[in-house]
């Protein structure tokens, strides 16, 4: 690990000023950053430790029915917050399906949003990677790439975004609150992560010094609590990143789908909101034929980036199954177990 300076700011303004300097990086739990630094992938000159900043570790239910989650709230604390899990069950399910208990106890909301791709070529400094070093090339393209992107990728980068947590958040229209040099601003989470295009090294819409301070879920996100699921398929039964995942949320009124929300993980460089599929579901009966049509719409633009054509068909099937599970109803107990989507149980009250 390259030597670095360590600073512990006393306020958000101090943090922003310290992190706006070239070579600086924010440190929260460090569960991803320290791993990258040990491998020589990230080489910051200065770490700005935000974990001691006051007031960023709260879960607040606001008067307008929205929910505000501070950037330093730990994954495990959020997932195990009873009121949170009841109102936003797919988000809790996604949180509990990610990483291990040790990592969930440490990892923060803000860090989760900014975790880096797990593309093996990005992780290996001996490989060429446009994301790690702009203009150097992409060894994933033509390499071992059965787990790479099928949507929104470019010739310069075929990596995927690894988060589970972000998938239902994007589906539920989460807003990110950002403190920067110009003050406070807000951004839909869907606009935080960028597709690679010709500049894969620019991963997010953040500017130097920008600090994510909170995420908000609008009041409308609660409308989906009774019919919401996160379904993740992976190569072993736990503690693995998604090959493909889907967050599905339905608002069912008088036997038809009033509103549908759908986002996919493991398929693109960002959490992938499937708006065409949502439009196809609106007004439809919650039945397999409608779910199949939605799955076709969600993957209509998909194309393999290498040895991963199977992910397109897999994603279609995951969409159908996630929608079927959501239509059946949210289970009373968040499963967080890989086999759970196939298990029966009492439904969410």
């Amino acid at each position: 690990m390259k030597p670095f300076d360590y600073v512990r700011p006393a306020s958000i303004a101090e943090a922003v000023a310290a992190a706006a300097q070239p070579g600086a990086a924010y440190l929260a739990a460090g569960t991803n950053l320290l791993d990258l630094m040990k491998g020589g992938v990230s080489r910051p000159d200065r770490l700005v430790d935000v974990t001691h900043l006051k007031g960023l570790d709260r879960i607040e239910h606001l008067a307008d029915g929205s929910l505000r989650i501070g950037a330093l709230v730990r994954n495990a604390d959020l997932a195990h917050d009873t009121a949170f899990a009841k109102a936003y069950p797919a988000v809790a399910e996604a949180l509990l399906s990610g990483a291990s208990a040790q990592l969930r106890n440490a990892a923060t909301l803000g860090g989760n949003l900014l975790q880096r791709t797990r593309c093996a070529y990005f992780y290996d400094p001996a490989s060429r990677c446009n994301r790690r070093e702009a203009g150097s090339g992409c060894d994933a393209n033509g390499g071992e790439n059965r787990l790479h992107a099928v949507l929104g990728w470019s010739e310069g980068c075929i990596a995927t975004h690894p988060s589970d947590f972000c998938i239902p958040l994007v589906a539920l229209d989460a807003i990110v609150e950002i403190e920067g040099k110009g003050g406070r601003r807000e951004l839909p989470l869907d606009e935080l992560h960028r597709l690679p295009g010709p500049t894969p090294e620019r991963e997010t819409a953040l500017e130097p010094g920008d600090l994510i301070v909170a995420v908000r879920l609008p009041a409308s996100a609660r409308d989906f609590a009774g019919h919401a699921r996160y379904l993740k398929v992976r190569e072993r039964t736990s503690y693995a990143f998604a090959v493909v995942s889907a967050a599905a949320a339905l608002k069912i009124e008088n036997g038809t789908i009033g509103h549908a929300r759908l986002a996919l993980g493991g398929v693109a460089a960002k959490p992938w909101r499937a708006r065409a599929a949502e439009a196809a579901l609106k007004g439809a009966s919650p039945e397999t034929s409608a779910f199949r049509e939605a799955a076709q719409a969600a993957l209509a633009d998909a194309k393999p980036s290498g040895d991963n054509a199977f992910k397109i068909e897999l994603a279609r099937r995951i969409v159908v199954r996630a929608l079927t599970l959501a239509a059946t109803g949210t289970p009373a107990r968040i499963p967080a177990l890989p086999a759970s989507p196939f298990a029966s149980g009492a439904l969410h009250a």
Partner: protein
């Protein structure tokens, strides 16, 4: 630049000077405090051999900078027995043949203790397996570990009922 931090480790306060902010909690425990029960396996958060409790919660000590944990309360494998009396989880690991080799076992035991404090798994063996899946090893003791956890949980639940 030297940084001063203060930790409570297994109940004792330790005031420490760090010459280099790169030191992880794992390296601090092993190299500075000679508490070598906590093991360095992968050193990348993947194997769980370095699991310790920080402020009562299990984390990977290899991915935690010591300097960032100023003021933390740390419990390691050395701090769980009372003199010659083993912690119930240690005793249950022996009774159920839950021991992997000495490298993985301390992390498995600390992870099991953390899991029980989190009280999320209940008595469902599938959930216990998921909750302890952050400890990876190719040895064959997983089944014994699940039995050990179940026994301690049942015993503690019975004690609570009779208390």
């Amino acid at each position: 630049m030297t940084h001063s931090i203060s930790l409570t480790v297994n109940g004792a306060r330790r005031d420490l000077q760090l010459d280099d902010p790169r030191v992880t909690l794992l390296d601090l425990l092993r190299e500075r405090l000679q508490l070598t029960g906590t093991k360095k396996g992968c050193d990348r958060g993947q194997c769980g051999a370095c699991t310790i409790l920080v402020d009562g919660r299990r984390i990977n000590a290899c991915l935690a900078l010591a300097i960032s944990h100023d003021g933390a309360d740390i419990l390691t494998i050395e701090g769980i027995a009372r003199g010659d009396q083993l912690h119930p989880v240690q005793a249950a690991f022996i009774a159920h043949d839950g021991f992997q080799c000495g490298f993985c076992t301390p992390g498995q035991i600390m992870s099991a203790i953390g899991m029980m404090r989190e009280a999320q798994a209940g008595d469902d063996p599938e959930r216990i397996r998921e909750c302890i899946s952050g400890n990876l090893c190719r040895c064959g003791a997983y089944a014994g570990i699940v039995d050990a956890v179940l026994e301690v949980q049942t015993s503690e639940a019975n004690q609570r009922r009779s208390a």
